[in-house]
Symmetry: C2
Subunit: 303 residues, 2 copies
């Protein structure tokens, strides 16, 4: 969109913190970019960037303008999406922010399905640390967030919200493998394979352990959930997993999943939603709705 060049330029500078690097990403020279900014500032009669030796930083006026420009860019995307929709093209691009615990099997299946039905709709998926997913909605980097136990719910408008049962994953020859359910203290006798700290599932486990006055001491910490699960194979080590992230065919790996009971502790919530107050492009809105339906049929819904 030609007439949104200036907003895009300003956005890029704010994102990179310097003229030159922004200019490079935009495919123009720093001088051209600089003059655009100077011209804009002259039009406004106010400076919008603080000049530091290290680069440019939006001042207060710049922050206001930046917010407006970001909204403007996002709105234009929405409009283009609407227009494409009414002309029967159903095109658009959807950026999704999520965490490792969620994506593994659930998201790829839905995206594949969408790609078949609406080939013109493209996707971007950002794997972010706990808390960052919600933040990435604010500057419109991403449209949709699907997260477990979100940190900032003020900015997040949930469309789906449901509890996620935790499971203990172990070899099918494991002493605990035949049990209907497992409790946290029963796990302490075995080697533990735990996700690294910031993850929401790790936090849930820590809380559950604290409740029974124990501490979880892992033999292996990792943020690769695949690695943890595979380590369980042919060993007595235990790994943990959310319902949404259970591998469909665990048997082939000689693994079993047993529900983890955590009495007195509320199960963690999985939330899918968008930035509060924002109207999504039709493509994104539609996809979020199918995510919601899929989650609602697979898992319970809580209000």
């Amino acid at each position: 969109m030609r007439h949104l060049l200036v907003p895009k330029y300003v956005e890029q500078i704010a994102r990179n913190g310097s003229l030159r690097s922004a200019a490079e990403e935009l495919g123009i020279t720093a001088s051209a970019l600089n003059r655009r900014i100077l011209g804009l500032e002259e039009e406004l009669g106010v400076e919008i960037f603080e000049r530091h030796p290290s680069g440019l930083r939006p001042n207060i006026a710049g922050e206001i303008l930046l917010k407006h420009f970001r909204d403007q860019i996002a709105d234009m995307e929405r409009v283009k999406s609407s227009i494409a929709d009414i002309s029967g093209q159903r095109a658009g691009h959807i950026n999704i922010a999520t965490t490792r615990e969620v994506v593994q099997y659930f998201l790829p299946a839905l995206i594949k399905e969408s790609l078949i039905d609406f080939p013109a709709v493209t996707f971007g998926v950002d794997l972010l640390e706990r808390g960052e997913a919600e933040l990435s909605l604010v500057d419109n980097t991403n449209d949709i967030a699907i997260v477990f136990e979100p940190l900032r719910i003020k900015e997040l408008q949930p469309v789906y919200s449901g509890e996620q049962q935790m499971f203990v994953v172990m070899s099918d020859k494991h002493p605990l493998a035949k049990k209907e359910t497992v409790r946290i203290y029963e796990c302490l006798d075995y080697a533990l394979l735990l996700p690294k700290r910031p993850e929401g599932i790790r936090r849930m486990l820590d809380i559950a352990a604290e409740k029974t006055d124990t501490t979880l001491i892992p033999v292996l910490e990792s943020n690769s959930l695949d690695l943890l699960r595979l380590m369980s194979q042919d060993s007595d080590a235990l790994s943990f997993c959310l319902a949404i992230n259970l591998r469909p065919n665990l048997k082939e790996d000689n693994l079993v999943a047993v529900p983890l009971l955590t009495p007195g502790i509320a199960p963690g919530a999985l939330i899918a939603g968008h930035l509060r107050g924002r109207t999504l492009p039709v493509a994104a809105a539609r996809f979020l709705e199918t995510v919601n339906k899929e989650l609602a049929t697979k898992f319970a819904v809580i209000v």
Copy 2:
């Protein structure tokens, strides 16, 4: 704002219904304007105007885009206003839509006050027919509407909402002049000076008359309320007026105003507000708030 040229162009064309007339108002040639539109349509990959021999009309895609562009222009005004506000300038322009029944003494006083306190804030006042004031908010022609008995309240977000007592205005030698209150049937014996039909106050009078199974037959209908009031002087004719529009010093004209009782009929509501869902520029928001305070202290508030 240089980068808002295209939105402004589209808006002007939609407003005028033709390239050439829009081009003239914009101070460019039709060919230049035409190429801008063609370029925009190429960027979008969709036509946004229907070409008729009589001119251009936005199609469905165009309507969507138009709404977005209008919002964009209005938002930019708001942003500029915010920026001016934080730099201590308190500048901006406020467009007010209202009806004859309201403005007479109330609005000018407030505007004068504002002009003294914030000289950089300028005003535009549109006197419109009943119903049109609310409509003019939709395309952001006006920022604030102050209307009596609005027709479309879906679009109108009220900030102040209060009842307006009706008064009968007559010569101070009139037989009814000494009464505390007057009822509608008591007026039927005298010549009536009534506002013309579409006005809200006329509608209130018609309803009140209907309730008592009579019809009001005016000797003079006019949409100049001043004219009506002056006709009451030195005659037995009666004119009608809202509380907000009572002349401060009626005595000097040898006139008196007696409250009109309309039992069983809800008094008409005076509403001051803005377009639902829109965030006003700071200058407009501030002015609307002073309007609200002024109305709330002078007249009752209804929720």
